[in-house]
Symmetry: C2
Subunit: 315 residues, 2 copies
């Protein structure tokens, strides 16, 4: 970080819902990692403060950036919303990995960051290591993005790929995805399209500051898809993919999540398994597609680190 980015990053605290580690307590990061590698629970480690939750920790430490990595909650965005508010109110910047707070409270959090001098980044929440909002805002700067299409959810894409490649039913493919740890035990958010819809809301807000709400996205998942439909599409050399789309009708932004039948010429037609991809259609740069980026915890951590680097450069 020092050599490549001229950054001196220091980890000053780590907090969960039930314990916190503070660098000021004197236990070094290598010692902390050594204990974690011995598979001890975080809240039972030496020199970790039991009972200190994330909010208390944010209030107590001096820092510049909050790295938020709590579970996504589309209902009220908690606990991320409260934690982001606390950090931004302290004048910190924040890198968010969960989607709920940004889907429910984007405008409020954006304004809070602006008023207190911090910055808010959520590349990790949008598609983890696959660069989506960064690509749109930075690499396509100067062009107008007119339409976005994405395979934004690896679980559903894995299921559809299994069904296409092996002719199995939706239920059997879902079971495979769960057995491999790709789908969660409650896969509702993924297979009913809400994870994709949430990511569309984040992209719409990042690209156009559009104030899109989750209830404005037309959402259809993949629960009803049959092996026969997929075979039928393949007979016409087409593939069925769960596509999240954003497009403009006049000055009205439209958003949908639905199964679409793609020809082999579509840049998303060959995104298979748990991979993801996004295509940006622009006025002056034609279409630019970005594919890949691993969805595992290392990829998510790498995306958060990327956001921290950019936050530090912006500060």
């Amino acid at each position: 970080m020092r050599r490549r980015y001229e950054l001196d990053l220091e980890l000053v605290g780590i907090a969960t819902a039930r314990a916190a580690w503070l660098s000021s307590d004197g236990q070094s990061v290598p010692s902390l990692l050594a204990q974690l590698h011995r598979r001890r629970a975080f809240h039972e480690l030496d020199s970790v403060r039991p009972g200190w939750d994330s909010a208390r920790t944010i209030a107590a430490v001096e820092a510049d950036v909050l790295v938020e990595a709590t579970p996504t909650n589309f209902q009220d965005g908690e606990p991320a919303a409260s934690l982001l508010r606390l950090a931004l109110a302290r004048g910190w910047s924040a890198a968010a990995a969960s989607k709920g707070a940004l889907v429910q409270h984007y405008a409020e959090l954006r304004d809070l960051a602006r008023d207190s001098g911090g910055h808010l980044r959520f590349g990790a929440a949008t598609a983890a290591a696959l660069p989506t909002v960064d690509l749109a805002r930075y690499c396509l700067a100067g062009a107008s993005i007119t339409r976005v299409e994405g395979i934004l959810n690896g679980t559903t894409n894995f299921i559809l790929t299994m069904m296409a490649d092996h002719g199995v039913s939706f239920a059997a493919a879902l079971q495979q995805a769960q057995a491999r740890g790709i789908a969660e035990s409650d896969p509702t958010l993924d297979i009913d399209g809400w994870d994709t819809a949430g990511k569309l809301v984040l992209i719409a807000n990042a690209v156009w500051d559009a104030g899109l709400r989750l209830d404005q996205v037309s959402v259809r998942g993949i629960r009803q898809v049959t092996a026969a439909e997929i075979r039928h599409a393949a007979g016409y050399r087409r593939v069925l993919k769960l596509i999240g789309s954003l497009w403009w009708e006049g000055d009205q932004l439209r958003a949908s999540v639905e199964l679409r039948s793609l020809s082999a010429e579509h840049p998303l037609a060959h995104v298979n398994g748990a991979e993801k991809g996004t295509v940006f259609f622009t006025d002056t740069m034609d279409r630019v597609a970005v594919l890949g980026g691993v969805s595992d915890p290392v990829g998510a951590a790498a995306a958060l680190l990327r956001d921290v680097i950019h936050l530090a450069k912006e500060a």
Copy 2:
């Protein structure tokens, strides 16, 4: 530009090898454009100074950024090298669209920019509207790029796609490319692989500051490829593509341009016609592929505008 990027861009001069327009002469940009739309030659326009070449213009005007758009010359990098030196020495930044100066004199120009406080950008030279160096440096920040593979030349990809889709010979496909204005009348730099090799040198310098030289790239073009070879590959469900590669062997950077046979799983296997694509292999984000981006003059201009926006933000 004002609303989206808080930038107040002003065009202060335009120069060719034989004439210059200066905003200080009083002729407005709309009036200039109106004359150009009537297909008058630039050096014959009203209020354009005949005999003022680019070097004289750079010396005479006050500006912050040079937008360089001269023909690529791999021999000595001229005239771009001299013009970039002049602008950087004045403390300006520069956005370059041609490759020769950057391939031949990258380290010198980088140091000159650093010493005089300017910045040098060459996204437009690398793959025009396809984000390549921007993606690597910004969207993959924090990850280590271990390997790069790209279809970096639209002309050769168009020829190979024509041969694969229609079973025609190399000569016939080249003729088609020339008839459609995709290949130049002297297509040597493209079909012998040197355009791709030059772009590899730019990427290597942008990603790793590697000091790679053009004579260190192992280059084989597509002049010898036959329809039979392409058919043979197709029989194994593979496609032949001209791939530029950069990879590390220990601490030694390797670079090659050669025909490679790709399976359908490779993200570049479906990049057809005059489209381009690049795949970055990383340590923490897996592989990230970016495809598309139009190669026409509008796309090149959009890429230059993107670089100007970033230069203005960095200043």
